[in-house]
């Protein structure tokens, strides 16, 4: 009788829950297409868009509406089509944050990462109204040592 041995592992090897595929990569990083979206509650509202095959390489991202509630990015139709967006509620936006120092951060509002939450496919889109927004829009940070 052949016994099938069950090997118990401490951490189950499951696929990352928040995988995002960017078929065109990010501007300047076109070769990297597979990412994982991670969030550490203590860093809320910032999240990490981490390169799947290189965990040490990541981008800080944020929901842009938390920085600018009336943000109105004009997503070109060709991009919406590329992402297969059918309903407005399928759209999820993340914008890349540049951390300049412990108290200074800016967010790129010209080129949001638009994700189809149904397919988990995304694209960094240059909004049609890019001239209205800044690539380095300041984020209000709390004073440290206050």
């Amino acid at each position: 009788m052949k016994c099938v041995e069950t090997i118990e592992v401490e951490t189950p090897v499951a696929p990352p829950p928040n995988r995002v595929r960017l078929p065109m990569g990010l501007l300047g990083f076109e070769q990297i297409k597979d990412y994982v979206l991670l969030a550490n509650p203590s860093e809320d509202p910032f999240a990490w868009l981490q390169v799947e095959t290189n965990a040490s390489l990541a981008f800080v991202v944020i929901d842009p509406f938390l920085v600018m509630p009336d943000y109105q990015p004009d997503i070109p139709e060709a991009d919406a089509e590329f992402l297969g967006l059918q309903q407005p509620d399928e759209v999820r936006l993340f914008n890349i944050v540049t951390v300049h120092g412990p108290n200074r951060a800016t967010v790129n509002l010209k080129g949001p990462i638009v994700i189809n939450r149904r397919t988990h496919v995304g694209k960094q889109v240059i909004v049609a109204n890019a001239s209205e927004y800044s690539v380095q829009h300041p984020i209000c940070v709390a004073e440290t040592g206050a």
Binding site: L27, F59, F65, V99, G111, A142
Partner: protein, 87 residues
């Protein structure tokens, strides 16, 4: 750089699958029409480079702590005014 002269209405073909057409000439502004497969991104150069540079500055190795976002971030519903909210 390959330099070609085109008149209004004439086109250029790149790699047999990307078509660039001079659609309109209005003084100094030239309107260019581009037909390309959906897997070929096409952007205005200056905005592309601005975002590319921004992305390159933004990439991080997760070593430094992130700044704490001010109170405005905790508001989940839209507010009437956008601005600094001091704690």
């Amino acid at each position: 750089m390959l330099i070609l002269s085109r008149k209004l209405g004439e086109s250029i073909v790149i790699d047999g699958r990307i078509h660039v057409k001079i659609v309109r000439v209005d003084g100094e502004v030239v309107k260019v029409g581009i037909e390309a497969p959906s897997d070929v991104p096409v952007h205005r150069k200056e905005v592309y480079e601005e975002i590319q540079l921004s992305n390159q500055k933004a990439v991080t190795r997760q070593s430094s702590p992130l700044p704490k976002l001010a109170v405005v971030a905790k508001i989940k519903t839209p507010v009437n005014k956008v601005g600094l909210q001091k704690t």
